[in-house]
């Protein structure tokens, strides 16, 4: 009888990472599953103001392999340890048994979580979104840096940019030349690489022009905005902010907080500071208009305005608000109004959505946010590419 031993081959060239393709495919499926669950994740996790490197656990249900298995009905046989097992002894827990108490002999449910950093998650979330109807504006254009375009070769460079093919080629050239130069001379056994053979890719940073854009975030911070409503509004703006930072490097963002008066605030204040007072929605709009007029002329800028409020406006201000909103729609590319009416808040104030329905403008959009799960949907309503296309059609 013959036996063959095949020794371990440690040279990396011979070894293949055979599961690479299947792992890649699995990861694609995981990504897809995450994308489908984003609304849940955003609702469950308080991602607002969190560090970008934070790891979020995402439950994955989409990548299961289904099988028929034996149930728990049929009896099984086990082996006793020390001592005699007696009828009635409990030997294990069922599937929903609490873990940790005792090592169960049941297999786990095929359900697992994957870790995703917030950064990655945001990437995934915003894949299909964009600022709609961005127009080419005259004059000042923002320069956007797109880095690392390969252009040409250099003799000096860093290791990762080494062009192996070109390097090998120049070595061959040098070898040919040396044979030609010393005909008949004894050829050395080896002809090693010389530093002069090395060739590196050269990269240049590429710049591209993009139209100017400014996004104005207006939030109602009046007394009627309770903790829950503020939370929803901030979640929405946080997503918006993340989206802009991720996808548009040079978009300017303006934060406006209003109650009866409106102020331009910093990002920090906008997301963290609480205020109180009555509500004049028009104050926020007028402030926005004022800023637009002073700094962002619509001829040069794409203007996007988003406003979150509970719609509980002071009755006498409604007309003024409508007028200001009308003006905003005339200057802005998109004016989005999100009305926050948490379910079961027990208090139904007036709704601006009904009131704003008088406003007939294609670039004016309203959504109602009732619960955490709505945030993502409302966000998508405002920014999805599909929306832009529908409008175009």
């Amino acid at each position: 009888m013959s036996t063959i031993f095949r020794p371990y081959n440690s040279s990396s060239g011979q070894r293949s990472d055979r599961s690479a393709g299947d792992r890649l495919r699995h990861r694609q499926k995981v990504r897809e599953a995450i994308r489908n669950n984003i609304a849940d994740i955003i609702a469950e996790e308080s991602i607002i103001g969190k560090d970008k490197n934070r790891i979020i656990k995402v439950p994955i249900r989409g990548v299961k392999e289904y099988r028929f298995i034996y149930g728990e009905n049929a009896p099984g046989v086990g082996q006793g340890g020390d001592g005699e097992p007696k009828p009635g002894d409990v030997v294990g827990q069922g599937k929903d048994g609490k873990a940790g108490h005792q090592a169960g002999d049941r297999p786990g449910v095929d359900y697992y979580e994957t870790d995703v950093s917030l950064d990655e998650l945001i990437d995934l979330m915003f894949e299909d979104l964009e600022l709609p109807d961005i127009e080419r504006k005259r004059l000042r254009q923002i320069e956007i840096e797109r880095q690392f375009r390969q252009k040409g070769f250099r003799r000096k460079g860093i290791r990762v940019r080494l062009d192996k093919k070109r390097t090998a080629r120049s070595r061959v050239k040098r070898k040919k030349a040396s044979i030609k130069h010393h005909p008949g001379a004894a050829q050395p056994q080896r002809f090693p690489f010389h530093e002069d053979d090395l060739r590196y890719h050269h990269t240049i940073t590429d710049t591209r022009n993009e139209s100017n854009a400014v996004v104005l975030c207006i939030m109602d911070t009046s007394g009627s905005m309770d903790t829950m409503k503020k939370y929803l509004a901030r979640s929405f703006f946080f997503l918006l902010y993340q989206f802009l930072c991720t996808r548009y490097q040079n978009v300017e963002i303006v934060f406006i907080a209003h109650h009866t008066e409106a102020h331009e605030v910093t990002e920090e204040e906008f997301f963290h500071k609480g205020e109180s007072g009555g509500t004049f929605i028009s104050s926020g709009y007028n402030k926005a208009l004022e800023i637009i007029e002073q700094r962002y002329h619509p001829a040069l800028w794409n203007v996007y305005v988003f406003h979150c409020s509970d719609g509980d406006n002071f009755e006498s201000d409604n007309e003024a608000a409508l007028k200001a909103a009308q003006q905003i729609t005339e200057t802005a590319n998109l004016f989005g109004y999100g009305e926050i009416k948490p379910l079961g808040s027990g208090y139904y104030g007036s709704s601006m959505i009904t009131f704003f329905s008088q406003l007939q403008a294609a670039n004016f959009q309203t959504v109602q946010i009732q619960k955490k799960e709505d945030i993502w949907n409302s966000f998508k309503t405002f920014l999805s590419k599909d929306r832009a296309r529908e409008d175009a059609a």
Partner: protein, 436 residues
Amino acid sequence: MAAEFTIEDLERWNEKIIKLVEHFGLDPFPQEFEVCDHEDMLSYMVYSGMPSHYPHWSYGKNFEKLKTLYEYGVSGLPYEMVINSNPSIAYLMRDNSLALQVLTIAHVYGHNDFFKNNFTFRSTRAEYTIETFKSHANRVRHYVEDPSIGLDKVEAILDAAHALSLQCRRNLAIKKPSAEEELKMKMAESQPPTDPFGSIHRRRETTQPDLNKVPLYPDEDLLTFIRDHNRQFADWEKDLLTIVHEQAQYFVPQIETKIMNEGWASFWHKRILEALELPQELHLEFLVRHTQVLRPSPGSLNPYHVGMKIWEDIERRWDHPSVDEIEEFGPRKKNGREKLFEVREVERDASFLRRYLTEELIRELNLFEYKSRGNEQVVSRVADDENWREIKETQSHPAAQARSRRARSPARICRKNVKIYPPALGTRHRHGHRPG
């Protein structure tokens, strides 16, 4: 970690082991050993030890899972892995100690002998194993690359087929009748049996069999049934079902002989290593490893332990039957060795347990039967005078065997080739099993 042995060491020990293998009368396929590292081992585990296997995302998922478990030290890797093919291929982990390698080499020959000689493996065509899997891989890749089919469609079929792949016949030694044979059987059944007292009985009426019924007889092979009866399927879809079915069929004998097979390999590695005159240090390590693998696992069932106990009991009962046993069964016509080889050839787990798991053994192994009650598993029967038969019946039932297979090792045992796990790890932490 550098290996603490050389290939020459392994070859030297292997020669000695082979001498003993031949001396004991084992009859394995030619054997090939491949020394690999833990990454390779993970890959082999995921792809059932096959050098070539068709791609599917579930293997990627499994790889990631095993790798994570391994890297966090939750579960260990098998000491070796051996596949049923001719020549048989086994993988040895290079980080293992020499004693462990010697033990696993001996263990592998046990499995190899079992693969070659047990009747359930006749259907697997070991000579073509590698080629079959390679051909499956090529065909699946071909469909994936075909622009009119593509990955998504192939995956949809494979996902569904995997779910049903083990819904198939389990005793492949029973020939499956062809369509014509089934028709004939149906016709023959409808004829009344010849009645010796026909002259005095009233003539029975012949009932016309319903030959349009599909299927004529219940069919256990769901995948092939679907393949043959769904007219919507294109050829490539049928072929994918065939591929998944054939692979499942290849693994069925291993599923059906887990306890026998592991017991047999453990029984022989113990014999071989005891006869090998190991130097002291190797011998002590062998004893430790052997005990770790073979120790009973209270609450579940260790197939290595139960299997080996039964084999040892068979040998004892035929070599040195007690007075009672001679009285009950008559004098033995075969000696222990002959009986062992006969049993390894003609039994599978269900029949093996039914015939050779004796009352005394059930007591000795301290087996009990458990049932689900609410959310707990509760001992329902222990091995006393009234109940040992029922325990045996339960264990011989496929569901119980599926469970004991599952209970042992941390992953996908059902589609897996046999292997030994480091038991200090692995048995306690289990995540997301493939059901057996």
